[in-house]
Structure formats: C-alpha cells, structure tokens
C-alpha cells in the first residue's frame, strides 16, 4: 500500500531546524581542540610538500617573555605575516635566532615544527576572530590559503 503523501507538519520543521542548528554548531566546534594561541603557519609548507608549522605560544611564553620575539627578533603580531622561510631560519633570523642548536634545538628536527595536518590553513588557533569570522574556514579555504581571521 502506498503511503499517503502529506506536507511536513510545522512542529516537525522546528525539530529539524533545531537539529541542523545543533549540527552546524558541532561542525564549527569540532576542530577547536588545540591549545589556545597555537599558531599554524602555512605560507609555503603545503606548496613545498611539508606539513604546515605549528608554533605553540604556551610553550614559548613559559621560557621567554613576549618582547624577546615580538620586539627584539621582529616577529609581527600577525599569523603568517612574517614571511618566514627556511633560508632565513638557517641564516639565524626569526625562529633561527634560537633554533640553532645553541639556544634551542636545531633545524634538523624538521617534524617537530612541521607537525600540522597537511592543508591546515594559517591561523591563530581558537582566536576570537577565528570563531567569529571564519567558523568553518578549515572547510571553506583551499590548502595554502590564509584564513581571514588573522589578517587585520
């Protein structure tokens, strides 16, 4: 027997809408599990066949005050805004000021920095702007594209 075709009752629309809303929130919230302030830098990594870099602020601020990197070494307050590459690092600029085998471990430990899942866009993880502007930036942006939130 063929079931009778009826329009969906209003009450069911509401439950559907509520469920999809919950789903959207789940999708938005699901990736946000890394540490607050973890910066993903993917200016060149994906294109060069390396995993993107993750810079953990929490680890570094236990050992150095902000000013050491952001004033003395010239890191700008902008994820992906410093155009760092390995030539500069090996030359002793940016990360290379410490990661030289003298102050901190050296550049041969590639995978300790280049440790993000391939395709992760440049971002400050769990930043407010990230949450407001680009909830689903991870899904929307192509690999290598810088996510909007970190930009001014």
């Amino acid at each position: 027997m063929k079931p009778e075709h009826r329009p969906i009752p209003r009450s069911r629309w509401w439950s559907l809408a509520a469920l999809w809303f919950a789903l959207a929130l789940c999708l938005g919230a699901a990736p946000a599990q890394a540490e607050y302030g973890d910066v993903v830098i993917n200016n060149h990594s994906d294109a060069a066949g390396m995993r993107p870099v993750i810079f953990p602020h929490w680890f570094h601020r236990i050992r150095y005050r902000c000013k050491v990197c952001h004033a003395d070494l010239g890191f700008k307050f902008k994820a992906g805004g410093n155009d760092i590459n390995m030539v500069k690092v090996i030359d002793g600029q940016f990360c290379g000021a410490c990661h030289n085998g003298d102050v901190a471990w050296s550049v041969e430990n590639c995978n300790m920095c280049h440790s993000a899942k391939p395709g992760t866009p440049t971002q400050v993880h769990e930043s407010t702007a990230n949450a407001l502007v680009a909830r689903n930036a991870v899904a929307a942006s192509a690999p290598g594209a810088a996510a909007a939130p970190a930009r001014k």
Partner: protein, 321 residues
C-alpha cells in the same frame, strides 16, 4: 517505538549521512595507523558523541558513562549495533562491519572509564555518578552539551589535549609525539577558566615561571612601568583599568606604541567590536593573552556612584511610559 523516537530517527540518519559527506568533501583523511576503534569513532560516532548532542554520552565524560558501563560491554555492543533511543543502528552507517562498531564502543568505554584530563574533578564526578540515577546523569549531559555550544567555553574532554589528539597536529608525524603535552607543563601553574586555562600573570608574578627577557641573558630584567590608565566606558559596564605593569612585565613599549596605541590620552578610539576582530587590545587578547570572555579582568573599576545613579534614573525614565 514511540512516535517521538520515530520523528527523531530520520533527522538523525540525515545528520549522520550529512556528516559523512562533509568529512569526505573536506578531505578528512583518516590515518591508516590509528587503531580501528578510534578511526571508527571519528568517522561514525564523534558527530554526536564528541559534543553530546541529543543526549549522547560524551567521549571522556565519566559521569555519563559510569551507569552505562555498569550494564556491561555486551549490552553496549547491542545498543551500538541495533540502535537505541534516537541513535540509529551503527550510528546510521549500516555499511560498517560489526567488529569496527565494537572496537569503537571499546574505545569510548575506555575513555569513559578513565578520562584523559579528569584530575580530582573527574574523580569526584565519577564517584557522584555511582549514586546518581541514569535520568539525572542524562540531564547533566545536556547541560554540558549546552556549554559546548558557547564558543568561549570548552568541554572538559577537550581541554589541554596532548598534541596528537588536538586535531591540528598530525598524529601520523613522528615529531608530534616528541612534543610536550601542555598539561605536564600546566600542572604546577595557577589555573584560570579561559584560554590555556593558565593564569599567566599570576604564574609570572608568583615566580612559577621565570621567562627570560633577553634571548641569551637569563639575568636581563624587563623594563617594568607601573602606571594605570583608566578608560571610562559607555553603558553599564565598569570602567576599564589598563595596567602598564602587567603588560610591561611581558612586553616592550615598542610592541604597542605607537603602531597599535598612540601614547596620548584620548587619542585612541577603542571598541569591543574592533577588539573582537583582532585589533587594538584584540591583537593579543583573544589570541594569546586572556580571551574577551573575561570581561571583568579589564572592566574592573566600578563607575562613580553619582554616574550610576544618573544612568539608573535615565533607564528608569526610558522604561516608564
């Protein structure tokens, strides 16, 4: 089956299918070397069990899992394979082999029995769960799920995860496993309720940590300036007190002046909108310094009584017709 369960079943199946397609479309690659249980969990179960949507017991939530674990693994297998309440059979993915579903159940049961970042609070919750009936724990789950919907809060099972589980590090990368898990560093530090869940200002002031002020010289001292700037704000929020002291403990004058803030009273227009979008205070607050959910850490100076009275009178006159 109750009519309510029937109504819910189809949207749930739609959600599961939608999530599956979503995962495929964004190219979520499941690493082949991850254990079967975890892989299945991430593919089929996590859409509901990660956030606790629709009353699903959350991964790592000992209070929610305790009564379920009491029923035994076989009962849990049966629920997962045949469906229970609003949960469809095999989480709506009928193609999954039984062994994979059972492995996922074991994975969730394991983490439910021993939460990764439980600590004393987790232990208390587990102890409480033993005496709480299932209905009450279901209510607790829905409260926790409501909290995860607030972007500024993070569910207990998602706080300070080790790199391999934090969703941005590649667990298949050997270097990831060499990195320090945050909790091992944070254990000794004063805690807070937001951001890294570490009160960094207290950690520095209480000499829990002694970060260098110079790249090489461990004895170099920062140039600390003790000057509070009070900013009167519109509306009912307390005025903002900006302490140079806590900022210069970490930062150099040149970090903020003159590019972000003109060093002159009244020269800087600041709004919460621009802060939320990562400008002015938001260059750091909301990214690495404590997030904007902590309103009262900045808005900390009560308005003068007269101003409050005037404001209240104005509100009252607006309210009365």
């Amino acid at each position: 089956m109750s009519p309510a369960a029937f109504l819910l079943r189809r949207p749930v199946a739609a959600i599961c299918a939608g999530l599956f397609l979503f995962m495929l479309s964004v190219g979520t690659v499941l690493a082949a070397d991850e254990p079967l249980g975890q892989r299945t969990y991430e593919a089929a179960c996590s859409p509901c069990h990660a956030s606790g949507v629709l009353g699903a017991p959350k991964l790592g939530d000992a209070a929610a899992w305790a009564p379920r674990l009491k029923t035994g693994l076989e009962a849990l297998y049966a629920s997962a394979l045949k469906g229970k309440g609003v949960m469809p059979a095999k989480g709506g993915q009928a193609a999954l082999p039984d062994a994979a579903v059972q492995a996922a159940v074991r994975h969730m049961a394991q983490l439910g029995a021993a939460p990764a970042a439980g600590g004393p609070a987790g232990a208390t919750a587990a102890a409480a769960a033993a005496s709480v009936p299932a209905a009450a724990s279901a209510a607790a789950v829905s409260v926790a799920a409501a909290n995860t919907f607030n972007r500024l809060l993070r569910a207990p099972g998602r706080r300070n995860l080790p790199p391999a589980e934090d969703q941005i590090h590649d667990p298949g990368n050997d270097g990831t496993l060499l990195l320090q898990p945050p909790l091992t560093a944070f254990e000794a530090l004063p805690r807070s309720n937001a951001g890294n869940r570490v009160d960094w200002v207290k950690a520095l002031g209480g000499t829990h940590i002694t970060p260098r002020a110079d790249r090489l010289d461990p004895k170099a001292a920062p140039m600390v300036m003790d000057l509070n700037i009070v900013r009167e704000v519109k509306g009912s929020m307390p005025d903002v007190v900006y302490p140079h002291k806590q900022h210069t403990e970490w930062l150099d004058c040149s970090n903020c002046h003159p590019a972000i803030f003109v060093p002159q009273k009244g020269a800087n227009q600041i709004s919460m909108a621009s802060i939320l979008l990562g400008q002015q205070c938001g260059v750091c607050h909301g990214k690495v310094a404590f997030p904007v959910s902590e309103c009262r850490l900045c808005h900390s100076k009560a308005k003068p009584a007269s101003a409050t009275a005037v404001g209240a009178a104005a509100t009252a006159s607006r309210a009365s017709p």
